[in-house]
């Protein structure tokens, strides 16, 4: 994953944020539900898995096997945690975005097209 470095995509950013939000309860289904609730976006489970695997490979997430539940037929979950690198990346993305956004709002005479 070397060259991509710390650049992350939009869905990746979303997942990183949600994993951070959910803290110790972040696993495939909970992330999927949270995204749906908070943003209204329906993402399929396979997509979530891919994104989380990718983020783990990049070192932005860390995972371990967690507890089981009845609805899972006694199967354990893989719980994801935000790593320090993950948090740093989120900070960096946010700062870049805010920097850009502040420049956008400082153009007083701009006519936004319809």
């Amino acid at each position: 994953m070397g060259t991509k470095g710390t650049y992350i995509g939009e869905l990746e950013e979303l997942v990183l944020l949600v994993v951070g939000l959910l803290y110790e309860g972040a696993y495939g289904v909970s992330v999927l539900k949270e995204i749906k609730e908070q943003t209204g976006r329906e993402v399929n489970i396979s997509g979530i898995h891919s994104v989380m695997n990718r983020l783990e490979d990049k070192g932005l997430l860390r995972s371990e096997m967690g507890g089981a539940s009845n609805t899972r037929g006694g199967r354990r979950k893989r719980i994801y945690f935000l790593t320090a690198a993950g948090k740093a990346t989120l900070d960096q993305v946010r700062s870049v975005r805010e920097k850009l956004y502040s420049q956008l709002s400082s153009l007083p005479n701009y006519q936004f097209s319809a």
């Binding site: 495939g28 396979s46 898995h49 096997m65 037929g73 199967r75 893989r78």
Partner: protein
């Protein structure tokens, strides 16, 4: 929720757990299930199910799919197999005796299979290595013989000469013939087949020239030999340029070796030990004589029918009386010569020996089956002693599949070892088999990829067939049962007993078969054949113009009782013809000769008379028949009339039924018919058995002036029938051999099971001895489990042997006997003796055993 909790759709779920990598299966499947239940509450059952299926499809992606070639796993595998290998070897070493028994038994069976393979291989692959084989045809003229058209494989030398010069559209004409000649080099003399071939032989047939010229037969005094011959004559010296002397037409002639070819052994119908130019054969022949195999290499676009017509037209060049014998000339594809064996006279190839292959292959598969049963039996008992290992492996997470794999790997090691032993044994068996089967097989593992393929296939087969059952049984054990020692021993013992029973049944069948073969062979040899097969001498091949003089000389011999001339050849007693008697039609054997003929071969007259010596009309219209003929024709009195070739004959004499050489020992309805002296080509001189050898010697003397001519032979009747007994003795030896192997295998099977059974219960016996068990008790304890097995095996074996062996005997003999109670009893007795002797060796060990030894370690 309703009474029944809905569950995710079964099949998609199974599919998911099947394809999912072990690493991620738990979380992925868990997520899918959780989503299902979430959606179930949200959207209802059908949409939840549909969504679940979609998820399964979406999750079917590279990162989730199970793959075997991940690097980590491979490394693991090597370590795992190393571990299996080590434990496998340790186990074999720990249980030396049963392992050895297993190996030897299986190796014997493998050796049988390899020999059987070798036996069958040649028939199917002979002559197939020639590159142009599909373009080559053999010239096969159709001639009339005894009023029936017969296809011959050989061509008259004049026709084959004409084909060379006059027929267009041929790429090449290659002629071949072989004969046995005296060969000398360096003062050593051999007799061997020498092949005569045209110069283009090597460009048409793919024999590889190792040393020497590419066109080696370009002069009449050159000779090509194969590797083996070159080594025999010249050792390790270079053969090219050396000389070999052959005796041709009574004169020695020198030939110079111009090439050495690769030896192909049995895989060529050509005799390729010595090959010399064809001129040498033709020059020695009288004109118009000669039976030559003529091969044509045909260009692909040529019409075979047109070519056949062209060659048929060449018959016009023959003198009229000879031309009349021919119908036409056909071309037979070279590749069909093996399968058309029976339809061609003077065949070039041997033909496929289906019966032989069935018999030898049948014996080999029987052996293999027996050995595998044996093996399964002992291997299961051996594996059951290792259940603790299985239990521990399972507890630390070994899956059943892995355990099966472990056992199969161990078994594979043992089978590989056995295969090597089997191949070595086969090398030992082959010379012996060659002797029995009168063949010349040898193992050429280096050049023969087919043998390798066969051996590898056989290896896989026996590994799976012998190893699968023990592996499955053992790996099925539950660790809790094993470690708590709640063994399910009763069930296991039953299985082993069933296998042992089957094994004994198979052994009994083979034994009964062998006993019957011996009995029938002995009976056939000693029974009355209905004629005097021990007291006449036959001379064939005397030229027609000398025949009368020769006969007069023979009449001068004092010891000769009857002389007859006949029209049939020595080994062929007669021929079959369609007979009409009233409404009945059937085939009868026709024996033709002069008036003395029935007396000369010693037929026994029961009723009526023989043909009258002086009455030509009587000779031309009367016949003597045997009893079977009368029964077939539905006749019961003399002077009945029958029709043969639309001529009506009167039955004047009835002889006792006579067996026949032609159809080994078959009774046939037989007619003895008169034929004029001038057609005769055989002379039969009857004498007393005591003076038979003297008469033969005198006849050889008298025939000496003609003996240099082709085809003169003097044979005493016992020698003629010797051939049959040789064949019968060979078959008998084969059956005897298989029976001894079976006894050995059965003995080893019993030995293995008994010794392992005792070892498993050695403490039990130790305690018994300490408590004062007598010898009788020990015998009883060991024998008891076998009693029922033996009784069942003997009963079923006796019944099945009657069912199975009778058809085999009917196939093998034309005059078979049914399986007798005596034979079954004999076989059963033999088997019992072997069983008792084997078990006793083990019980004696038990009797001598010091109980302290067995109990000390606890």
């Amino acid at each position: 929720m309703s009474q029944k909790t809905p569950i995710p759709p079964k099949w998609p779920d199974r599919f998911l757990s099947w394809y999912c990598n072990d690493r991620v299966r738990e979380q992925v499947q868990g997520d899918a299930h959780e989503l299902f239940y979430w959606r179930l509450e949200d959207k209802g059952i059908s949409r939840a199910r549909r969504a679940f299926m979609w998820d399964v499809v979406r999750l079917f992606k590279w990162s989730n799919i199970k793959r075997t070639n991940r690097q980590k796993q491979q490394l693991n595998n090597i370590a795992m197999f190393k571990n299996y290998f080590k434990i496998g070897l340790r186990n074999l070493w720990k249980q030396k005796v049963p392992s050895t028994i297993n190996c030897i038994g299986l190796a014997l069976a493998i050796a049988c299979c390899l020999v059987a393979y070798k036996f069958a291989e040649r028939d199917f692959f002979i002559d197939t290595f020639h590159e142009k084989k599909d373009q080559i045809y053999l010239v096969t003229p159709v001639k009339m013989r005894n009023n029936t058209p017969r296809t011959s494989s050989v061509t008259d030398s004049r026709i084959s000469d004409l084909i060379v010069t006059d027929v267009p559209g041929l790429e090449a004409v290659t002629r071949y013939q072989s004969t046995v000649l005296n060969i000398t080099s360096d003062d050593r003399e051999f007799r061997s087949y020498v092949g005569f071939v045209d110069r283009n032989f090597f460009s048409q047939f793919s024999f590889e020239i190792i040393h020497g010229e590419p066109d080696p037969l370009n002069a009449p005094d050159k000779i090509v030999v194969d590797e083996k011959v070159a080594e025999k004559h010249f050792g390790d010296q270079h053969a090219i340029g050396k000389t070999i002397r052959l005796k041709l037409q009574g004169r020695e002639k020198e030939f110079v070796v111009s090439a050495v070819i690769r030896e192909v052994g049995d895989f060529s119908s050509f005799q390729t030990g010595y090959l010399i130019p064809f001129e040498n054969y033709k020059n020695g022949l009288p004109d118009g004589f000669g039976t030559i195999y003529t091969f044509l290499t045909v260009n692909e676009q040529v019409q075979i029918n047109q070519l056949q017509d062209n060659i048929t037209q060449l018959l016009d060049f023959l003198p009229d009386e000879e031309k009349g014998q021919y119908r036409e000339v056909r071309l037979t594809p070279f590749t069909k010569l093996m399968s058309l064996f029976g339809e061609l006279d003077e065949p070039f190839a041997f033909g496929i020996n289906y019966t032989g292959i069935a018999v030898v292959g049948g014996i080999a598969s029987f052996m293999l089956l027996l050995a595998i049963f044996n093996y399964i039996n002992i291997a299961t008992v051996m594996a059951m002693r290792r259940v603790k290992e299985i239990g521990i492996r399972k507890v630390i997470g070994g899956k059943r599949r892995q355990l099966v794999l472990q056992f199969l790997t161990e078994n594979f090691i043992l089978c590989c070892f056995t295969m090597v032993m089997g191949a070595l044994l086969a090398r030992v068996f082959l010379p012996w088999f060659n002797l029995v089967a009168d063949e010349n097989y040898f193992f050429d593992l280096a050049n023969n990829y087919r043998v390798w393929t066969f051996m590898i296939a056989l290896l896989l087969l026996i590994t799976l067939a012998s190893g699968m059952y023990p592996a499955l049984v053992v790996s099925r054990q539950r660790p809790i049962t094993i470690l708590k020692k709640l063994s399910g021993k009763r069930e296991k013992n039953r299985l082993i007993r069933v296998l042992l029973t089957i094994q004994l049944i198979l052994a009994l069948i083979t034994l009964v078969n062998a006993v019957m073969f011996i009995q029938i062979e002995w009976h056939n040899k000693t029974k009355d054949w209905g004629f005097d097969r021990k007291s006449y001498v036959s001379v064939t091949g005397i030229p027609a113009n000398e025949f009368e003089t020769f006969r007069n000389k023979v009449e001068g011999l004092a010891a000769v009782r009857h002389i007859s001339t006949s029209q049939t050849s020595t080994s062929n007693f007669g021929y079959f013809k369609q007979i009409k008697s009233g409404e009945k039609k059937f085939a009868a054997m026709i024996l033709q000769g002069d008036v003395e003929y029935p007396k000369a071969i010693g037929l026994r007259l029961l009723k009526g008379r023989y043909l009258l010596p002086d009455s030509r009309p009587d000779q031309e219209t009367s016949i003597v028949v045997n009893e079977l003929f009368m029964r077939r024709a539905g006749l019961d009195s003399l002077n009945a009339q029958v029709k043969l070739d639309s001529i009506t004959y009167r039955v004047v004499g009835i002889v006792q039924d006579n067996y026949n050489w032609n159809l080994p020992l078959n009774l046939a309805a037989t007619i003895v018919k008169w034929s004029p002296d001038d057609d005769a080509n055989q002379l039969i001189a009857n004498t007393t058995p005591e003076s038979l050898e003297d008469v033969k010697a005198s006849l050889v003397n008298l025939a000496d002036p003609f003996i240099h001519k082709l085809g003169v032979s003097v044979q005493a009747s016992p020698d003629i029938y010797e051939g049959y007994f040789k064949v019968a003795a060979r078959t008998r030896n084969l059956m005897l051999f298989s029976a001894s192997l079976v006894i050995l295998l059965a003995g080893m099977g019993i030995f293995g099971v008994v010794s392992l059974g005792i070892n498993n219960r050695i403490k039990f016996f130790g305690i018994k001895k300490v408590l004062g068990a007598s010898r009788r008790h020990l015998y009883k304890d060991v024998y008891k489990p076998f009693l029922i097995v033996v009784i069942i095996a003997l009963v079923i074996g006796a019944a099945t042997s009657v069912i199975i062996v009778n058809p085999v005997l009917e196939l093998a003999f034309t005059d078979p006997q049914s399986v007798s109670a005596l034979a079954v009893l004999l076989a059963a007795g033999l088997l019992m003796v072997v069983g008792v002797l084997t078990i006793n060796t083990q019980v004696r060990r038990l009797v001598r055993l010091n109980p302290v030894e067995t109990l000390r370690d606890e």
